[in-house]
């Protein structure tokens, strides 16, 4: 395997509402920022992650390329998944050995429609989508399966929002007030991640290029993704077998984990993921505030990787783990281990 590292990360100051910027306008500043940090103007490969259903425009990711300056033609790809999977594709592409740099970006404006029901469109069209099963409904089913104490869930939201208030890129959300205000029981309205618009970009570099671009590259020493059956009745929703498998394959347990950024949109998902990844008290979870503090859908997972990498890049952590997810109830999970040189 070639050594591949994250050498730059940028994200927008996420908003809880539509500012009226087009997708290219939203993306452009973060692309500019990572270009400036690395001094790179062109990349061997470019890959993005987004979801056309958020904007309701087919192939909206194609017009997003306007943010790049894609002429002369660039080598480019896209995943209709969280951009964390775009990073995975770019990592695989760098393993080919013929290029040394890749630009990865993800973006989403969930303010434009009703995210809760847009998420129904990702479900299988025979058994689940026709029932009108929505994002909060399936998340609530998983929360019920976990059966965590309300106090523990509230504390996760409180901690995440407090950390988010300390993160200039995340939203300023108040502590949950303890009211029994339910979304879909057992989920409370304060358990629901905030509607967020935002984007993020990461630059990957392989081999010698990584060290030339930054003093502390965040080396990807393990990266793996796994998934499990789509249909919720075929799984044990209280666990995440696929996250545990991905963590094993990525080698999470091979060393101490100082920081973990988890793509846990709902507090019960954090409980599932800590168990699946085998994270103990010694690991700081989501110091950025995590998805409960800012959830720009399709960039949220990539931001987890960026936030974990940032702590290696700035020297505050030697080993960090990032997790990203997609699909209903943590169906697909991607785990990345990042280490200082």
């Amino acid at each position: 395997m070639r050594d591949v590292a994250i050498v730059a990360f940028a994200q927008t100051r996420h908003t809880s509402h539509d500012t009226g910027l087009t997708e290219p306008e939203l993306i452009r500043p973060v692309i500019d920022e990572v270009k400036e940090r690395t001094g790179l103007r062109r990349f061997g490969f470019t890959c993005s992650g987004s979801c056309d259903y958020l904007a309701g425009a087919p192939f909206s990711f194609v017009s997003a390329l306007d943010a790049l300056g894609a002429w002369p033609p660039i080598s480019e790809s896209h995943v209709e998944m969280d951009a964390a999977w775009a990073l995975y594709e770019a990592w695989v592409r760098l393993q080919h050995g013929d290029i040394d740099s890749a630009l990865v970006y993800g973006f989403g404006k969930s303010s434009l429609g009703d995210l809760r029901t847009i998420m129904t469109l990702q479900l299988d069209p025979y058994y689940l989508a026709p029932l009108g099963l929505d994002q909060l409904a399936y998340a609530a089913l998983q929360a019920a399966a976990v059966g965590a104490e309300r106090k523990e869930l509230d504390e996760i939201v409180r901690r995440s929002r407090a950390d988010g208030r300390g993160n200039p890129y995340a939203l300023d959300l108040p502590d949950p007030d303890g009211a029994e205000d339910y979304a879909v029981r057992p989920l409370k309205k304060t358990d629901v991640p905030p509607i967020t618009d935002g984007a993020a970009a990461i630059v990957l570099a392989a081999g010698d290029l990584a060290r030339r671009l930054t003093a502390n590259p965040a080396y990807i020493t393990g990266i793996a993704h796994r998934m499990e059956p789509h249909y919720l009745g075929m799984r044990n929703l209280a666990l995440s077998a696929s996250a545990a498998d991905a963590a094993r394959a990525a080698g999470v347990g091979k060393g101490p984990v100082e920081v973990a950024e988890l793509h846990a949109q709902f507090p019960h998902e954090e409980i599932i993921l800590r168990r699946a990844l085998g994270l103990g008290e010694e690991t700081t979870i989501n110091p950025s505030g995590g998805p409960p503090a800012a959830n720009p859908v399709m960039a949220t997972g990539l931001i987890r990787i960026g936030e974990a990498a940032r702590r290696v890049l700035d020297g505050s952590a030697r080993r960090a783990v990032a997790h990203a997810t997609g699909g209903p109830c943590l169906q697909q999970n991607l785990v990345t281990v990042l280490e200082a040189p």
Binding site: G56, L131, Y182, V184, L237
Partner: protein, 294 residues
């Protein structure tokens, strides 16, 4: 629509919906649903997948061609409660989403359960499907599931004609005149009200009725929250009232006082309807009301 010209409504829709082929496995399941049967498919390892998939998610192997009828009832394994249904939901009133392990299946079916309230559903609750009137071969041919029948309502109503003769007639004729009549036992000296023919304790015959005052003391009472045709409203208070000079309390309504202010030991006086409205019926006594403190 917002009036801001810079804000527009945008609808993404495929008119009429997409046509999707089902393949043989899902097609079989949906065809069975149309015939109001629920089937699973058996995997090579012998497990029954409901709803059926073409491949066993555990092994990736193709499933066998054996379809097994399951349910129609099953047990809830996990559920979530929707207080405010969305337009696309199967019910327009509060309901539960549930994973249901149908009898004979090794996996759970996700569907809606129509339960009155969140206390009417739990892990283990047995549920049965309610079918659409005209199944078409769609997952919504099952409108929703409902909890298994565990109780029924049995209506009971018979009518009678009651005739007040004997001692009760004597008492009620007193009420028509605005007095309460009791009877004193010649043997034990206890005074009973309403008037009665014999002493229930000694068995002695009671002689002529005695007039009792319409004042007394509440010995105990109940605050009633179910309506009763004889009471003016809910909540109302019914009380045991020991008339002055009687040894046995009489049951009557208490009024003219908020229910929560009624107390044991409270002194009360009968409130009679006007003389021209009085009949040989307890309706002649509106209720007992607290006496003015003397």
């Amino acid at each position: 629509m917002p009036s801001d010209p810079l804000v527009a409504r945008h609808v993404l829709e495929f008119p009429g919906g997409y046509t999707r082929t089902t393949g043989p496995v899902i097609g079989r399941f949906l065809s069975e649903l149309r015939a109001r049967r629920i089937v699973g498919v058996r995997t090579a390892e012998g497990r029954v997948l409901v709803p059926p998939l073409e491949y066993d998610p555990a092994t990736g192997e193709a499933v066998t061609g054996e379809y097994v009828e399951v349910g129609p009832a099953g047990a809830v394994t996990t559920w979530a409660w929707v207080d405010e249904p969305l337009d696309a939901h199967p019910l327009d009133r509060p309901f539960a989403w549930a994973l249901i392990e149908l009898d004979g299946a090794d996996t759970a079916l996700l569907h809606a359960v129509d339960a009155d309230n969140p206390k009417a559903i739990a892990a283990g609750t047995r549920v049965w499907p309610v079918w659409k009137d005209r199944p078409t071969g769609h997952i919504t041919d099952i409108s929703y599931f409902v909890p298994e029948v565990t109780k029924i309502v049995a209506p009971v109503r018979t009518e009678y004609r009651l005739q007040a003769g004997g001692a009760l007639r004597v008492f009620l004729e007193g009420v028509a005149r605005g007095v309460f009549l009791g009877g004193r036992c010649p043997s034990c000296d206890q005074v009973y009200v309403p008037y009665r023919m014999s002493c229930p304790e000694c068995g002695e015959v009671i002689g002529e009725p005695v007039e009792l005052p319409d004042t007394g003391t509440i010995t105990t009472y109940a605050i009633n929250n179910l309506p009763d045709p004889r009471a003016p409203q809910v909540p109302f208070v019914s009380a045991y009232i020991l008339l002055d000079g009687a040894d046995i309390p009489m049951i009557a309504l208490v009024g003219g006082v908020p229910a929560h202010e009624v107390r044991q030991g409270m002194r009360v006086r009968a409130v009679w309807v006007p003389p021209e409205e009085r009949t040989a019926s307890m309706a002649s006594v509106r209720w007992f009301a607290p006496m003015e403190p003397s």
